[in-house]
């Protein structure tokens, strides 16, 4: 069983878990994902790759506590284990020299955009990085991103840090400056990816997004992760998770992500009140 080397809180609702999975880390490429199962009764949950330490075979997973499974994940101590961690799954993100390339990370999406930024930088791109969150205490990976970006921007919705406003404001400024941008990749909440894609469309800049629909097996067998891209239905697990943002039906994705809203809420509240839940009261209040 994969060993958890560390599992620490990095924000009001965010945790960082380091898992030792040498084979997976050796094979994984930026943009791919993994599926984790915490215990025997647990769900199979897809998780983005938030970092790959190839030397030590360690995978970084940044996760937000939004439901029972993520809450359960916080209870695993350093030195503990998770039941399964399967992958790498999905297709890797395109890596090419486009000239100027922009990565946009919102909320928890700041994590998976980082290995992509590393790969794009290494491919010789001039890299602009824009990260954003509701508030300063939710931002993370700032130093990591800064270290490789040619230009770096942080945004907060409440103005507590960096630009007061949305990642799309900064992106618009860059596009309006007339600088030729070869490629944009955006990862974050569905609404953020939708806003970014709508913004860049009239500028004609290719904009890719990484989608996070619900999944079960992650190998193409169940079809639960289907997304509408242009006129076709795609399976995010085998055809994605990256898709052309100008063609994605984001509203459908939002609706499908809410398919089990009621059940998930009930299961989460049942867990929060159980003795197995070790979340601090402050976190409980926040997630409720």
């Amino acid at each position: 069983m994969p060993k958890v080397l560390d599992n620490v809180q990095i924000g009001p609702q965010n945790w960082k878990m380091l898992v030792r999975v040498p084979k997976l880390v050796e094979k994984a490429r930026p943009g791919q994902f993994v599926i984790i199962r915490v215990n025997e009764a647990g769900e199979r949950v897809p998780m983005s790759i938030g970092g790959l330490d190839r030397e030590n075979g360690v995978l970084t997973v940044i996760y937000q506590v939004v439901g029972k499974t993520s809450a359960l994940m916080t209870t695993i101590p350093a030195g503990g284990e998770i039941l399964d961690c399967v992958g790498p799954l999905g297709l890797p993100t395109h890596v090419k020299k486009w000239g100027t390339a922009i990565v946009v990370g919102g909320g928890i999406g700041i994590a998976p955009i980082y290995p992509i930024a590393q790969a794009w930088k290494a491919a010789g791109n001039k890299l602009y990085t824009i990260i954003g969150a509701r508030s300063q205490n939710i931002l993370f990976y700032e130093n990591e991103h800064k270290a490789i970006a040619d230009k770096f921007y942080a945004c907060t919705d409440d103005g507590s840090y960096g630009h007061h406003g949305f990642v799309s404001d900064i992106l618009k400024q860059i596009l309006d400056s007339g600088e030729k941008v070869g490629m944009i990749m955006a990862i974050g909440p569905v609404i953020m990816m939708k806003v970014v894609a709508n913004l860049t469309k009239p500028y004609g800049v290719p904009t890719w997004v990484s989608l996070n629909p619900l999944m079960v097996d992650g190998t193409g067998m169940c079809g639960g992760c289907r997304v509408a891209v242009g006129d076709t239905t795609k399976f995010a697990c085998v055809d994605g998770p990256d898709f052309d943002g100008h063609l994605v039906d984001f509203d459908l994705l939002t609706k499908r992500l809410n398919a089990y809203k009621e059940q998930e809420k009930n299961s989460f509240h049942r867990f929060l009140e159980s003795p197995g839940c070790k979340l601090a009261d402050s976190v409980k209040t926040l997630v409720k």
Partner: protein, 479 residues
């Protein structure tokens, strides 16, 4: 009471035993197995109906050529474990095949008793002896050949992969089975529901393989973590690909991505593998429909519709574009579904799904069909009756219209030939693919088929892999 000294005429007078089953009214509220299995005396009596005829057409009716008269005569002699071992000489999975094989179109349809009477209940007897052996812990480790020094990688732990592994390990080769999911058994665990094939039986078969020395590596997606070529680099001498059905097909009609429309793969995987029927004790949720329509007429459609009843559906419908005569499901499954109150809408097909503001399916518009000229499959082609549109109120739809092949391995294996549907092309005798040392069988080759056909393909492949390894050994010695 059965008596070995009965003459032919007396034997023919014995009526075919019927399988004791859970009452339909009770069983739609639980996931326990529907047929309870034969009692000892029932089995012995049924076995005594077999005429042990010289021709034994049943043997050639069986895709893996089980010595049927041989095992049945051991039942008459009350050597039940011996009978199970007799079957296992050619079929590694009798407890499973005794339950899910379509005997009525294989061994039993050709039984000479079937001409005038009802055929011997071969499937019931197979299940009986396999259960007897397992429940009484009489399973034995068979004779194993000395270690050959060769290693074989088997990709997929469904019926094809388990058969290949079971055969090759006995021949002295080291075998590793790679499984993408966290549990082994493939379609036997994620697809076929508990009420038709209890998971403890599949587990027992996998445990038996492990006792023989087969190594299992679950949660490993070949094609992603390692490619077929990398398996050879890791020191495997041959590879068998038995990755199964692959990507689910959808209708391709408007509204199909609404919430509440599942592929049968997803619906059954949630319920069977992830145990969503026991939510929230298990964390995976499932949508419980009041009015459930299952599209399709195969065994998977029957499994899905019967699952929906057990999860609490008030109305469960099978919606099928042809008529009952063309349904590919086993007669027994259709019968069970009917007993349980499933409503059959034959010669009907949906043309669009209608959703509410939240994107949940609330209805589907259908048209009625009539049967026209025969098509490529030899079945009469259904043709739309113009103006026959009507709307069905549904809040859950399960699409069970088959699968297309999974691309993960063909995409990452240069030189592996596939046909236009993406199925791997093999030599029908040896199951060898276009790549040396690479064999394939089961649904990834044939498209959606049955457990026993997959097992049959596994048998052929194991034989050919063994031959291949022997030749390799010769050339190694000579080289």
């Amino acid at each position: 009471m059965a008596d070995q000294k009965l003459d032919k005429k007396d034997r023919m007078k014995i009526p075919r035993t019927s399988m004791p089953e859970q009452d339909p009214k009770e069983r739609i509220h639980n996931f326990s197995e529907v047929p309870r299995g034969l009692e000892i005396e029932m089995a012995v009596t049924e076995a005594s109906r077999c005429l042990s005829c010289a021709k034994a057409p049943c043997v050639s009716g069986c895709p893996v050529e089980v010595d049927i008269p041989g095992f049945i005569s051991l039942v008459v002699e009350r050597d039940f474990a011996g009978a199970a071992r007799k079957i296992k000489e050619t079929n590694s999975l009798p407890a499973i095949c005794g339950r899910v094989c379509p005997q009525e179109e294989q061994c039993e349809v050709v039984c000479i008793l079937a001409k005038k009477f009802k055929p011997v209940a071969i499937g019931y007897l197979e299940r009986f002896v396999a259960d007897f052996e397992r429940e009484n812990k009489l399973t034995q480790i068979p004779e194993m050949a000395p270690a050959s020094g060769f290693r074989v990688a088997v990709v997929g732990s469904g019926p094809a992969g388990l058969t290949v592994a079971g055969d090759l390990i006995k021949l002295g080769h080291k075998v590793t089975i790679f499984e993408a999911l966290h549990k082994t058994g493939g379609v036997l665990v994620y697809g076929i529901p508990e009420f038709r094939l209890p998971k403890k039986i599949v587990q027992a078969e996998c445990d038996y393989m492990a006792r023989l020395g087969v190594e299992f590596q679950p949660s490993t997606v070949i094609g992603k973590s390692d490619t077929i070529d990398e398996l050879f680099e890791m020191g495997y001498d041959a590879v068998f690909i038995g990755t199964g059905a692959g990507l689910p097909n959808f209708m391709g009609i408007p509204g199909e991505n609404l919430i509440g429309i599942y592929s049968s793969n997803e619906y059954l995987t949630r319920s069977n593998l992830m145990r969503a029927f026991d939510f929230p004790n298990y964390d995976t949720p499932i949508i419980v429909g009041k009015n459930v329509a299952v599209l399709g007429g195969g065994n998977t459609a029957m499994d899905s519709v019967r699952t929906s009843l057990r999860l609490g559906a008030e109305n469960a419908y099978i919606v099928y574009r042809r008529s009952e005569a063309e349904m590919p499901a086993r007669a027994e499954e259709i019968h069970h579904a009917q007993q349980e109150g499933v409503q059959f809408h034959m010669l009907t097909t949906p043309i669009r799904f209608i959703g509410d503001a939240e994107g949940k399916v609330i209805a589907m518009e259908c048209v009625k069909m009539q049967l026209g000229e025969p098509d490529d499959s030899g079945r009469r082609r259904p043709v739309v009756i113009e103006g026959s549109n009507f709307t069905m109120e549904v809040d859950l739809v399960v699409v069970a219209i088959g699968n297309s092949s999974n691309p993960l391995i063909p995409q990452t294996t240069p030189g592996l030939d596939i046909n236009r549907w993406g199925n791997i092309i093999v030599n029908a005798e040896t199951m060898q693919t276009s790549r040396e040392g690479v064999y394939a069988g089961g649904d990834i080759v044939t498209g959606g088929a049955t457990v026993i056909l997959a097992a049959g393909a596994g048998k052929k492949a194991a034989k050919a892999i063994h031959q291949y390894l022997l030749t390799k050994k010769d050339s190694l010695v000579k080289g």
